[in-house]
């Protein structure tokens, strides 16, 4: 049997040879990375051939009595897996060269091999146990990759693993709840069985699923691990984390709302604006996530943490869209998965490229890299245009679809959140652009060069895809419509160049050419009528006088420093969920542990005697 014959054997053979990959990486890390790129390419090819063969049963085997590991192929799963493998492919290409900056390249590549193996296993899972196992594998591998980066990242990784394990365990609990009820974990079978259960039972199932999904997706109110983890992870891995690993959560949300027919399950529950209350609450949480992510992103000083919060906001979009379960919203949500995967990968990769050359991502230490690193700049630019939802890029299309569903549904708050996020993202994504790539270049960055071609290549691919899907979203909408049809939702209607929405239609090709025209005109004007003079960094601010503190810490006078201070002041004293979880749960649990220790174990023998004898007596007396 061909080792890459099916998706399951792809996963398992990768897992089995992952120690060999470790050894290969010890020998030469570039070969290991290239090998994994090739493997993901093969996986992509295999997936491509599987398109259309939905519901194909695959081999399964028992893991504990009566519980099996099995795989299946349905449009949504195919869609998620395909994007995932694609992102992994670009990352591995990037890492062929990037790994020289890693402190522990062999371990890094080993754990990434585990992640690559877990990816199709997770998304193509035929039952919930498979889902759980591959999720645990992923978080475990990611935990080790994240903790390798720096001193700070160890703590970040612990936050990550604590929250993700909580999510996974919630999933495990719900899984056994379902299993005791229906004696099956097969997703397809549960889909048909769930409506027969009571609403209360379904509500518990829904709540636990959502809990676990929101943690993994990094969506409000369980988003708190994202900032630290993304900010401190190894640079190229941040792209995987944000570009793909948080989509594991989106997938769980998709399973909860779309694959399990949530509208049908809660048809007897109270409705709010035509949406069952559980779905509505989930959508509102998504909306809040958009707002919180946006507001927090504005505050960040570090470009990677900024993008991390933008991920929170985008996870919010996806959750909100999937929770509404309408034709446009599901299409928008699923398309947004693609959008954010590409955009986050693009942004993080370009930041990784910047760090590869300059050694920092702190915005106030950077500047003026546009003519030193043009490809990186272009990637970042295209990614943020897509992120902000500006027309010629694919980001607009997904947001446009989501707007349609919020507006036609009459959800005022959700519409507000969606627009707020869109406008807010102008504010924050612009900032790294302005500070890292524009402005004055500090002296020490004079000799920065563009990254090697092998690192440029994945960035070029991602940018190209962002543009291509922007011009022709119909390519991506094809599997999405297939998925909607498969799960009984009215598919969006579209043609090669046009999407027909409820509030008008969108001819992407036409728009693209109009924008191109405008762009060319602007470029012509820019190059013909350029009148700029170069000045040194400090001259602007000090009028010739140079106080001591400026010499000591010029970055304080960098214009990126406290860039949005006036805006931040509006919500300076906001309550922080991040602190809340850390103290309320983490620290208090530890305090509780210390308390228990002092209560029971810190004493002398006489105390132990008292406790033991009293317990024995108490038991005798009680029984």
């Amino acid at each position: 049997m061909c080792p890459f014959g099916t998706i399951s054997s792809f996963s398992f053979s990768l897992l089995i040879i992952s120690p060999l990959i470790y050894l290969l990486a010890r020998f030469d890390r570039r070969w290991a990375s290239a090998f994994l790129a090739l493997a993901s390419g093969l996986g992509l090819y295999k997936l491509a051939t599987m398109y259309g063969e939905w519901g194909l049963p695959s081999q399964s085997f028992e893991i504990i009595p009566n519980v099996t590991i099995s795989f299946t192929n349905s449009p949504i799963q195919w869609y998620f897996a395909f994007i995932g493998l694609g992102i992994m492919l670009t990352i591995f290409l990037f890492e062929i060269s990037w790994l020289s900056k890693s402190r522990t390249p062999s371990a890094h590549i080993f754990f990434e091999a585990v992640i690559l193996a877990s990816l199709p296993g997770f998304f193509m899972a035929g039952d919930l146990m498979t889902l759980y196992i591959f999720f645990e594998l992923m978080s475990w591998a990611a935990f080790f990759i994240v903790s390798q980066a720096s001193e700070k990242s160890e703590k970040a990784a612990r936050t990550f693993i604590a929250m993700n394990t909580t999510g996974a365990m919630a999933l495990l609990y719900v899984l056994f709840l379902l299993y005791t009820r229906f004696s099956t974990l097969n997703i397809e079978e549960l889909r048909t069985l769930l409506p027969s259960a009571g609403a209360g039972f379904n509500l518990i199932i829904f709540a636990l699923f959502v809990f676990s999904g929101l943690i993994k997706a990094g969506s409000f109110p369980l988003h708190t691990w994202l900032r630290k983890t993304h900010g401190n992870a190894p640079d190229s891995f941040s792209a995987v984390l944000s570009g793909y690993l948080i989509k594991y959560g989106s997938f769980v949300v998709a399973v909860t709302t779309v694959i399990f027919p949530s509208l049908l399950l809660f048809s007897n529950a109270p409705h709010f604006m035509g949406l069952p209350l559980p779905n509505y609450i989930l959508a509102v949480l998504g909306g809040v996530s958009i707002i919180v992510g946006t507001l927090m992103a504005i505050k960040q000083q570090d470009a990677k943490m900024l993008i991390a919060y933008s991920s929170v906001s985008h996870a919010g979009y996806i959750v909100m869209a999937l929770a509404m379960v309408s034709s446009y919203s599901v299409a928008g949500g699923l398309l947004h998965v693609l959008v954010h995967a590409l955009a986050a990968a693009g942004m993080f990769l370009s930041m990784a490229a910047v760090k590869y050359r300059t050694g920092t991502t702190n915005m106030s230490e950077l500047g003026g890299l546009v003519d030193r690193m043009p490809v990186t700049f272009a990637t970042y630019l295209i990614s943020i245009i897509s992120t902000a939802g500006i027309p010629p890029m694919v980001g607009f299309v997904s947001k446009w679809l989501i707007y349609q569903s919020t507006i036609t549904g009459g959800f005022i708050f959700l519409s507000f959140a969606a627009f707020f996020g869109s406008i807010g993202s102008f504010l924050y994504v612009f900032r790294p652009l302005a500070t890292v790539f524009f402005g004055q270049r500090p002296k020490r960055l004079e000799n920065v060069r563009e990254v090697p071609f092998i690192m440029q290549l994945p960035m070029i691919i991602i940018s190209a895809l962002t543009v291509i899907f922007g011009v022709l979203p119909s390519i991506a909408l094809k599997p999405i419509a297939e998925a909607e049809r498969y799960y009984g939702i009215k598919p969006v209607s579209f043609s090669f160049s046009e999407i027909r929405g409820a509030l008008g239609s969108w001819n992407s090709v036409l728009v693209f050419f109009v924008f191109m025209l405008g762009f060319i005109m602007a470029a012509v004007i820019f190059y013909l009528a350029r009148k700029s003079v170069r000045v040194g960094l400090l001259e602007n601010y000090t009028a010739g006088e140079i106080p001591r503190e400026i010499i000591n810490s010029p970055e304080l006078y960098h214009y990126a420093h406290n860039f949005y201070r006036p805006v931040e002041r509006l919500y300076e004293h906001h309550p922080s969920l991040e602190d809340f979880y850390e103290t309320a749960l983490g620290e208090n649990l530890k305090k509780f542990g210390v308390f228990l220790k002092t209560l029971f174990y810190n004493h002398r023998l006489d105390w132990y005697l008292y406790v033991s004898i009293l317990t024995i007596l108490f038991l005798w007396w009680l029984l």
């Binding site: 002398r604 023998l605 006489d606 005697l609 008292y610 004898i613």
Partner: protein, 113 residues
């Protein structure tokens, strides 16, 4: 319930009282011995029968109304085990004294915390 059983229970209670109230390691050991003694007497008293004779056969006649030999055998074992434990405990107490210079339970000397 006969006198032996009663006494044994009393000894057990005294042993427990000593164990709980004393802070001197050796006194605790002694209390423990008292407790063990009580338990042993309880065991023997199980085999007691009124006007019973020692369970030793003197052929050719069969003995009439002997006391139960099994608890006696058990007690023999229990006593020896008690001796062993006590010896080991006293050795440890000696060692503790050698290391910390005190036999008071409430002293924290020698604690490496």
């Amino acid at each position: 319930m006969n006198l032996y059983t009663f006494t044994s229970l009393l000894l057990i209670a005294i042993g427990v009282y000593g164990l709980l109230s004393q802070r001197h390691l050796f006194k605790m050991l002694v209390s423990l011995s008292v407790l063990e003694l009580g338990v042993n007497i309880l065991l023997v008293s199980i085999g007691y029968s009124k006007d019973g004779v020692a369970p030793i056969l003197t052929p050719p006649e069969q003995i009439i109304n002997p006391v139960d030999p099994l608890p006696q055998a058990l007690v023999l074992t229990a006593i020896v085990i008690g001796v062993g434990t006590t010896a080991l405990m006293s050795a440890i107490i000696v060692k503790i004294y050698k290391r910390t210079g005190t036999l008071d339970l409430s002293s924290n000397r020698g604690e490496d915390e």
